[in-house]
Symmetry: C2
Amino acid sequence: MKELTFDAENCPISRISKVLQGKWSMVIIYVLSEGTLRFSEIHHKLPHITEVNLTKDLRMLEAYGVIHREVYPVVPPKVEYSLTDMGKDFLPILNSITDWAEKYTTK
Amino acid sequence: MKELTFDAENCPISRISKVLQGKWSMVIIYVLSEGTLRFSEIHHKLPHITEVNLTKDLRMLEAYGVIHREVYPVVPPKVEYSLTDMGKDFLPILNSITDWAEKYTTK
DNA sequence: CGGTATCCTCCGGGATACTG
DNA sequence: CAGTATCCCGGAGGATACCG
Protein backbone atom coordinates (compact mmCIF):
# COMPACT_ATOMS: atom_id res chain seq x y z
CA MET A 1 0.00 0.00 0.00
CA LYS A 2 1.03 3.55 -0.52
CA GLU A 3 2.59 5.64 2.17
CA LEU A 4 0.19 8.18 3.58
CA THR A 5 0.07 10.90 6.12
CA PHE A 6 -3.04 11.03 8.19
CA ASP A 7 -4.29 14.54 8.11
CA ALA A 8 -7.08 15.90 5.95
CA GLU A 9 -4.62 17.80 3.78
CA ASN A 10 -2.51 14.99 2.48
CA CYS A 11 -4.36 11.77 3.21
CA PRO A 12 -6.91 10.87 0.53
CA ILE A 13 -8.82 8.73 3.00
CA SER A 14 -9.21 11.61 5.41
CA ARG A 15 -9.97 13.95 2.55
CA ILE A 16 -12.87 11.85 1.30
CA SER A 17 -14.08 10.45 4.60
CA LYS A 18 -16.64 13.22 5.07
CA VAL A 19 -18.55 11.91 2.08
CA LEU A 20 -18.67 8.38 3.39
CA GLN A 21 -19.31 9.42 6.98
CA GLY A 22 -22.79 10.69 6.25
CA LYS A 23 -25.46 8.27 7.40
CA TRP A 24 -27.22 8.41 4.05
CA SER A 25 -24.47 9.29 1.57
CA MET A 26 -23.87 5.81 0.21
CA VAL A 27 -27.53 4.93 -0.04
CA ILE A 28 -28.23 8.12 -1.94
CA ILE A 29 -25.47 7.27 -4.39
CA TYR A 30 -26.97 3.82 -4.69
CA VAL A 31 -30.49 4.95 -5.53
CA LEU A 32 -29.07 7.35 -8.10
CA SER A 33 -27.13 4.51 -9.72
CA GLU A 34 -30.20 3.55 -11.68
CA GLY A 35 -30.47 6.96 -13.26
CA THR A 36 -31.61 10.52 -12.82
CA LEU A 37 -34.18 11.14 -10.12
CA ARG A 38 -36.18 14.08 -8.85
CA PHE A 39 -36.04 15.18 -5.23
CA SER A 40 -39.38 13.63 -4.40
CA GLU A 41 -38.44 10.36 -6.11
CA ILE A 42 -35.31 10.05 -4.00
CA HIS A 43 -37.29 10.84 -0.92
CA HIS A 44 -39.87 8.24 -1.88
CA LYS A 45 -37.13 5.60 -2.13
CA LEU A 46 -35.61 6.74 1.17
CA PRO A 47 -38.62 7.56 3.36
CA HIS A 48 -36.56 7.31 6.56
CA ILE A 49 -34.51 10.41 5.86
CA THR A 50 -36.10 13.77 6.52
CA GLU A 51 -36.34 16.38 3.78
CA VAL A 52 -34.00 18.65 5.71
CA ASN A 53 -31.23 16.09 5.85
CA LEU A 54 -31.84 14.82 2.35
CA THR A 55 -31.32 18.36 1.11
CA LYS A 56 -28.22 18.74 3.27
CA ASP A 57 -26.69 15.47 2.05
CA LEU A 58 -27.51 16.17 -1.61
CA ARG A 59 -25.81 19.57 -1.37
CA MET A 60 -22.79 17.98 0.28
CA LEU A 61 -22.51 15.30 -2.38
CA GLU A 62 -22.88 18.01 -5.01
CA ALA A 63 -20.14 20.09 -3.38
CA TYR A 64 -17.80 17.11 -3.49
CA GLY A 65 -18.63 16.56 -7.15
CA VAL A 66 -20.30 13.20 -6.67
CA ILE A 67 -23.71 14.21 -7.99
CA HIS A 68 -25.09 16.81 -10.35
CA ARG A 69 -28.08 19.01 -9.58
CA GLU A 70 -30.11 20.28 -12.52
CA VAL A 71 -32.74 22.92 -11.85
CA TYR A 72 -35.51 23.51 -14.38
CA PRO A 73 -37.06 26.96 -14.05
CA VAL A 74 -40.64 25.81 -14.30
CA VAL A 75 -43.73 25.94 -12.16
CA PRO A 76 -44.06 23.77 -10.19
CA PRO A 77 -40.32 23.45 -9.56
CA LYS A 78 -38.44 20.56 -11.11
CA VAL A 79 -35.01 19.49 -9.90
CA GLU A 80 -33.17 16.42 -11.10
CA TYR A 81 -30.25 14.69 -9.50
CA SER A 82 -27.78 12.42 -11.24
CA LEU A 83 -24.37 10.90 -10.68
CA THR A 84 -21.33 12.64 -12.11
CA ASP A 85 -18.42 10.66 -13.53
CA MET A 86 -16.95 10.75 -10.05
CA GLY A 87 -20.17 9.33 -8.67
CA LYS A 88 -20.35 6.63 -11.32
CA ASP A 89 -16.75 5.69 -10.59
CA PHE A 90 -17.78 5.03 -7.02
CA LEU A 91 -20.37 2.42 -7.97
CA PRO A 92 -17.96 -0.54 -8.24
CA ILE A 93 -16.58 0.42 -4.83
CA LEU A 94 -20.10 0.54 -3.46
CA ASN A 95 -20.71 -2.90 -4.89
CA SER A 96 -17.57 -4.21 -3.23
CA ILE A 97 -18.61 -2.74 0.08
CA THR A 98 -22.05 -4.30 -0.27
CA ASP A 99 -20.61 -7.71 -1.04
CA TRP A 100 -18.14 -7.39 1.81
CA ALA A 101 -20.89 -6.41 4.22
CA GLU A 102 -23.14 -9.22 3.04
CA LYS A 103 -20.38 -11.76 3.49
CA TYR A 104 -19.45 -10.78 7.02
CA THR A 105 -22.55 -9.32 8.62
CA THR A 106 -25.82 -10.97 9.45
CA LYS A 107 -29.35 -9.74 9.59
CA MET B 1 -27.05 -3.83 -9.00
CA LYS B 2 -28.90 -5.87 -6.49
CA GLU B 3 -32.24 -4.86 -5.13
CA LEU B 4 -32.02 -3.60 -1.57
CA THR B 5 -34.20 -2.26 1.14
CA PHE B 6 -32.81 0.69 3.02
CA ASP B 7 -33.11 -0.08 6.67
CA ALA B 8 -30.34 -1.29 8.94
CA GLU B 9 -31.95 -4.72 9.17
CA ASN B 10 -31.92 -5.73 5.56
CA CYS B 11 -29.62 -3.35 3.73
CA PRO B 12 -25.96 -4.38 3.86
CA ILE B 13 -24.87 -0.82 3.24
CA SER B 14 -26.85 0.46 6.19
CA ARG B 15 -25.70 -2.49 8.26
CA ILE B 16 -22.03 -1.77 7.72
CA SER B 17 -22.20 2.00 7.47
CA LYS B 18 -21.48 2.50 11.17
CA VAL B 19 -18.02 1.06 10.65
CA LEU B 20 -17.18 3.39 7.81
CA GLN B 21 -18.84 6.41 9.41
CA GLY B 22 -16.26 6.68 12.17
CA LYS B 23 -13.78 9.48 11.55
CA TRP B 24 -10.82 7.18 12.18
CA SER B 25 -12.12 3.71 11.28
CA MET B 26 -10.60 3.45 7.84
CA VAL B 27 -7.27 4.93 8.85
CA ILE B 28 -7.03 2.48 11.74
CA ILE B 29 -7.67 -0.39 9.34
CA TYR B 30 -5.01 1.06 7.10
CA VAL B 31 -2.28 1.28 9.71
CA LEU B 32 -3.06 -2.29 10.78
CA SER B 33 -2.71 -3.45 7.19
CA GLU B 34 1.04 -3.70 7.64
CA GLY B 35 0.70 -6.09 10.55
CA THR B 36 0.00 -6.47 14.25
CA LEU B 37 0.42 -3.38 16.37
CA ARG B 38 0.24 -2.51 20.04
CA PHE B 39 -2.05 0.21 21.32
CA SER B 40 0.78 2.69 21.74
CA GLU B 41 2.12 1.93 18.29
CA ILE B 42 -1.24 2.69 16.69
CA HIS B 43 -1.47 5.84 18.73
CA HIS B 44 2.02 6.82 17.65
CA LYS B 45 1.03 6.47 14.01
CA LEU B 46 -2.21 8.37 14.60
CA PRO B 47 -1.25 11.11 17.06
CA HIS B 48 -4.30 13.21 16.18
CA ILE B 49 -6.77 10.79 17.72
CA THR B 50 -7.17 10.86 21.47
CA GLU B 51 -6.68 7.72 23.54
CA VAL B 52 -10.32 7.78 24.54
CA ASN B 53 -11.55 7.72 20.97
CA LEU B 54 -8.88 5.32 19.79
CA THR B 55 -10.06 2.89 22.44
CA LYS B 56 -13.68 3.46 21.46
CA ASP B 57 -13.02 2.92 17.75
CA LEU B 58 -10.88 -0.17 18.36
CA ARG B 59 -13.63 -1.72 20.43
CA MET B 60 -16.19 -0.90 17.77
CA LEU B 61 -14.07 -2.42 15.03
CA GLU B 62 -13.56 -5.45 17.24
CA ALA B 63 -17.29 -5.75 17.85
CA TYR B 64 -17.91 -5.75 14.11
CA GLY B 65 -15.27 -8.43 13.62
CA VAL B 66 -12.91 -6.26 11.61
CA ILE B 67 -9.98 -6.46 14.03
CA HIS B 68 -8.76 -8.87 16.67
CA ARG B 69 -7.65 -7.83 20.16
CA GLU B 70 -5.13 -10.04 21.90
CA VAL B 71 -4.43 -9.36 25.56
CA TYR B 72 -1.27 -10.72 27.17
CA PRO B 73 -1.57 -11.03 30.96
CA VAL B 74 1.79 -9.49 31.75
CA VAL B 75 3.07 -6.49 33.66
CA PRO B 76 3.22 -3.93 32.17
CA PRO B 77 0.15 -4.71 30.07
CA LYS B 78 0.56 -5.79 26.48
CA VAL B 79 -2.28 -5.68 23.97
CA GLU B 80 -1.93 -6.38 20.30
CA TYR B 81 -4.32 -5.49 17.52
CA SER B 82 -4.51 -7.17 14.13
CA LEU B 83 -6.86 -7.45 11.19
CA THR B 84 -9.21 -10.41 11.01
CA ASP B 85 -10.03 -12.07 7.70
CA MET B 86 -12.90 -9.64 7.44
CA GLY B 87 -10.51 -6.77 7.99
CA LYS B 88 -8.03 -8.08 5.44
CA ASP B 89 -10.84 -8.48 2.93
CA PHE B 90 -11.53 -4.80 3.30
CA LEU B 91 -8.04 -3.75 2.22
CA PRO B 92 -8.65 -3.91 -1.54
CA ILE B 93 -11.78 -1.82 -1.00
CA LEU B 94 -9.76 0.66 1.00
CA ASN B 95 -7.26 0.84 -1.83
CA SER B 96 -10.05 1.50 -4.32
CA ILE B 97 -11.43 4.26 -2.14
CA THR B 98 -7.98 5.81 -1.82
CA ASP B 99 -7.43 5.74 -5.57
CA TRP B 100 -10.89 7.15 -6.18
CA ALA B 101 -10.31 9.95 -3.68
CA GLU B 102 -6.89 10.74 -5.12
CA LYS B 103 -8.32 10.89 -8.61
CA TYR B 104 -11.14 13.27 -7.82
CA THR B 105 -10.06 15.34 -4.85
CA THR B 106 -7.25 17.82 -4.57
CA LYS B 107 -5.03 18.89 -1.75
C1' DC C 1 -42.65 20.35 -5.95
C1' DG C 2 -38.71 21.18 -3.62
C1' DG C 3 -37.35 22.83 -0.52
C1' DT C 4 -36.65 26.36 4.49
C1' DA C 5 -37.21 27.59 9.20
C1' DT C 6 -37.07 26.27 13.74
C1' DC C 7 -36.39 23.57 17.63
C1' DC C 8 -34.48 19.81 19.98
C1' DT C 9 -31.76 15.79 21.37
C1' DC C 10 -28.07 12.79 21.18
C1' DC C 11 -23.54 11.59 20.63
C1' DG C 12 -19.08 11.75 18.08
C1' DG C 13 -15.04 13.50 19.21
C1' DG C 14 -11.64 16.73 21.55
C1' DA C 15 -9.01 18.11 26.01
C1' DT C 16 -7.24 17.02 30.27
C1' DA C 17 -6.24 14.27 34.18
C1' DC C 18 -5.71 10.05 36.43
C1' DT C 19 -4.89 4.63 37.27
C1' DG C 20 -4.05 -0.74 37.78
C1' DC D 1 1.47 0.30 28.84
C1' DA D 2 -3.09 0.58 27.95
C1' DG D 3 -6.27 2.25 29.00
C1' DT D 4 -10.54 5.17 32.35
C1' DA D 5 -12.79 9.09 34.24
C1' DT D 6 -14.69 13.53 33.42
C1' DC D 7 -16.01 17.49 31.21
C1' DC D 8 -17.28 19.89 27.27
C1' DC D 9 -18.91 21.36 22.70
C1' DG D 10 -20.39 21.40 17.86
C1' DG D 11 -22.87 19.38 14.77
C1' DA D 12 -25.43 15.36 12.80
C1' DG D 13 -29.77 14.11 12.40
C1' DG D 14 -34.83 13.75 13.81
C1' DA D 15 -39.70 16.14 14.20
C1' DT D 16 -42.76 19.50 12.85
C1' DA D 17 -44.43 23.43 10.44
C1' DC D 18 -44.36 26.55 6.79
C1' DC D 19 -43.31 28.75 1.96
C1' DG D 20 -42.53 30.50 -3.17
